[in-house]
């Protein structure tokens, strides 16, 4: 009969209207600034720098090797190596800038980093009235403690920590094994360890 489809449609919208008052499936809106959805563990937005311990400057894992800077497809990373007063490289970045207006969140920097120093952050509220300075993150903005890394990506952080601990234990054992037979000659034990970073 003519008009039956219209009535069916009206019934459907009425179900939606009434259901939106008591059925969460018919009102899936989460009102964002007040309430927010929990991000999935693998969420990623922009990179940040991990540091161990309490001091964001000295605990930084980054050694300013510039691999990430060279691999970054949009070239949004800028690193200057720290040098002491005699001009000797210090294995520490003096400048580490990241332009998030350019970054495309590809995570290549994370994949290439041999020191597990750079990781993806989940913070996404970066809106700013200053589109140049406000979107250029410096070392102080980027450095976040390992504790924070554990909070946002627990599985990945635990895996990284376990691997780092194993590597360190291995290096120590190797150093000990090398140190024992070479104890007699006056050669300093630190030299072979420093040569293999």
């Amino acid at each position: 009969m003519f008009g039956a489809g219209l009535l069916k449609g009206l019934a459907e919208t009425a179900r939606n209207f009434v259901g939106s008052y008591h059925d969460p499936a018919r009102l899936p809106t989460v009102e964002y600034p007040e309430r927010r959805l929990e991000l999935p563990e693998n969420a990623r937005v922009f990179p940040f720098l991990v540091y161990d311990g309490a001091d964001p400057e000295r605990g930084l894992r980054c050694v300013a090797c510039k691999i990430c800077e060279k691999e970054c497809p949009p070239q949004c990373i800028y690193i200057v190596l720290e040098r002491d007063e005699r001009g000797k490289p210090q294995k520490h970045p003096r400048v580490f800038d990241l332009d998030i207006s350019v970054c495309m969140s590809c995570q290549i920097c994370v994949e290439v980093c041999p020191f597990d120093a750079i990781r993806m952050d989940t913070a996404f509220e970066w809106s700013t009235p200053d589109r140049f300075g406000g979107l250029l993150l410096h070392k102080t903005d980027l450095a976040k403690p390992n504790r924070y890394y554990h909070q946002i990506h627990p599985t990945e952080a635990a895996e990284t920590d376990a691997r780092l601990a194993a590597e360190q234990a291995k290096a120590e054992a190797k150093a000990k094994a090398q140190a024992k037979p070479k104890a007699a000659p006056p050669q300093p034990a630190a030299t072979p360890a420093a040569a293999t970073p």
Partner: protein
């Protein structure tokens, strides 16, 4: 007490008018009536925009505006401020005067049309003998406003929208008036307060004698509401506006306050036409059952009006927009024949009013329903079988 409450607005008006010297009194009374109508329905316009946004949002599983004020109730004020502070742009090629006058002509006739609607017992601004005729005559003036807007803007989309609007408004005027005529036929008067009086009293099971509770009245009401939807440019008949194809049609060159006036006019005509529909079919300001008679009459009118608005919002949230040919087919091949059939059924109802033999009421019902349902069935079958209103068949694209 109930009597006083019912006549409260009248009493207030009489008190206020009595403050003035005698020669001024008719003018003051007219001014007060007009001011009350403009204030009430202007406020209702603001409320309806909020109701519509909320209702549509709920239908679409959203929350709707909830940031400005409690439950977003101040949203209309924010919208109004935004509209008022926008730049008023007049295209250089536009016909300045026609472009300027169109939004005014869209609103003023609708406000005039309110003058004949009885909002409550003795609550009518202008008790005209031919009130219904006046209503339709004045309401038709808005069609000129739409065409003025389309023509004066000198824009192809405006003109297309205006052409569509004129075609649609004139086509749906016919079933609108014809379904109203069936009420005139039975009530025997064109005066709207008299039509309300013709629905006085209570019939079977204490139910009111409204026209909508008769077979022809129900059909007439449905036809009237469909035609009213088309007449007020509302979805699913909003193709003169058609944002997705002709970007607001005749309103495309309007901005700021003039654009707001078009919307005001559209909503005001919606309220006015719902008010007339209520008066014609839903017993005007009368209570549905006898034991609710103590509720003031204007509250009944308001409740019915809000109900009608809710139905219009519901329809808007459900129906997709029609195509232009579907619109015309529907008007001339379905609405017009059905309103003529309704007229015949109303005539039958009127002619058999004198039947007194036992079971006469039932027989009248059966006859009336058959008179309506059989043509409806035949019409729907013939229209769908010949593919005139069915899904579109593409001749070359298949």
């Amino acid at each position: 007490m109930a009597q006083t409450l019912d006549q409260l607005l009248d009493l207030v008006q009489q008190r206020l008018v009595a403050l003035w010297p005698a020669p001024w009194q008719p003018w003051v009374a007219a001014f007060l009536g007009a001011a009350a109508i403009v204030a009430t329905f202007g406020g209702l316009f603001a409320l309806t925009t909020w109701l519509e946004r909320k209702g549509l949002a709920r239908i679409q599983n959203r929350l709707g505006p909830n940031r400005v004020g409690p439950y977003g109730l101040l949203q209309p004020i924010a919208d109004g401020l935004k509209m008022l502070t926008k730049e008023d742009i007049v295209p250089r090629a536009a016909d300045q005067w026609i472009h300027f006058l169109a939004p005014i002509l869209k609103v003023v006739p609708v406000l005039l049309a309110y003058s004949v609607i009885p909002f409550g017992r003795h609550l009518v601004a202008l008790d005209l003998e031919a009130g219904l005729l006046f209503f339709f005559a004045v309401g038709s003036a808005t069609e000129i406003a739409v065409f003025m807007a389309g023509w004066g803007s000198r824009n192809k989309y405006s003109l297309l929208g205006a052409m569509r609007a004129i075609a649609q408004l004139i086509s749906y005027e016919v079933p609108l008036v014809l379904s109203a005529v069936s009420v005139v036929l039975v009530a025997g008067t064109l005066s709207l307060p008299a039509i309300v009086d013709s629905q006085a009293g209570h019939g079977w099971a204490g139910l009111a004698n409204w026209h909508v509770f008769t077979p022809w009245g129900l059909a007439g009401f449905v036809l009237f509401m469909i035609a009213a939807t088309a007449k007020t440019n509302r979805s699913p008949f909003d193709l003169p506006e058609g944002e997705s194809e002709i970007i607001a049609g005749h309103m495309v060159e309007y901005s700021g306050f003039k654009y707001a006036l078009f919307y005001l006019g559209e909503y005001l005509s919606l309220f006015a036409i719902s008010g007339v529909g209520i008066t014609l079919f839903l017993g005007g300001w009368r209570a549905p059952v006898a034991w609710l008679d103590w509720v003031p009459s204007y509250l009944w009118f308001g409740a019915k009006l809000l109900g009608c608005i809710a139905v219009f919002i519901w329809l808007r949230g459900t129906m997709p927009r029609l195509r232009a040919d579907q619109l015309m087919n529907f008007a001339w091949k379905f609405m017009l024949p059905m309103s003529l059939v309704t007229l015949v059924a109303a005539a039958m109802w009127h002619a058999t009013a004198t039947w007194t033999f036992p079971g006469a009421g039932l027989w009248r019902w059966v006859l009336g329903a058959a008179l309506l349902l059989l043509p409806y069935r035949a019409l729907s079958r013939s229209l769908t079988q010949r593919g005139r209103l069915g899904p579109r068949r593409y001749r070359f694209a298949d």
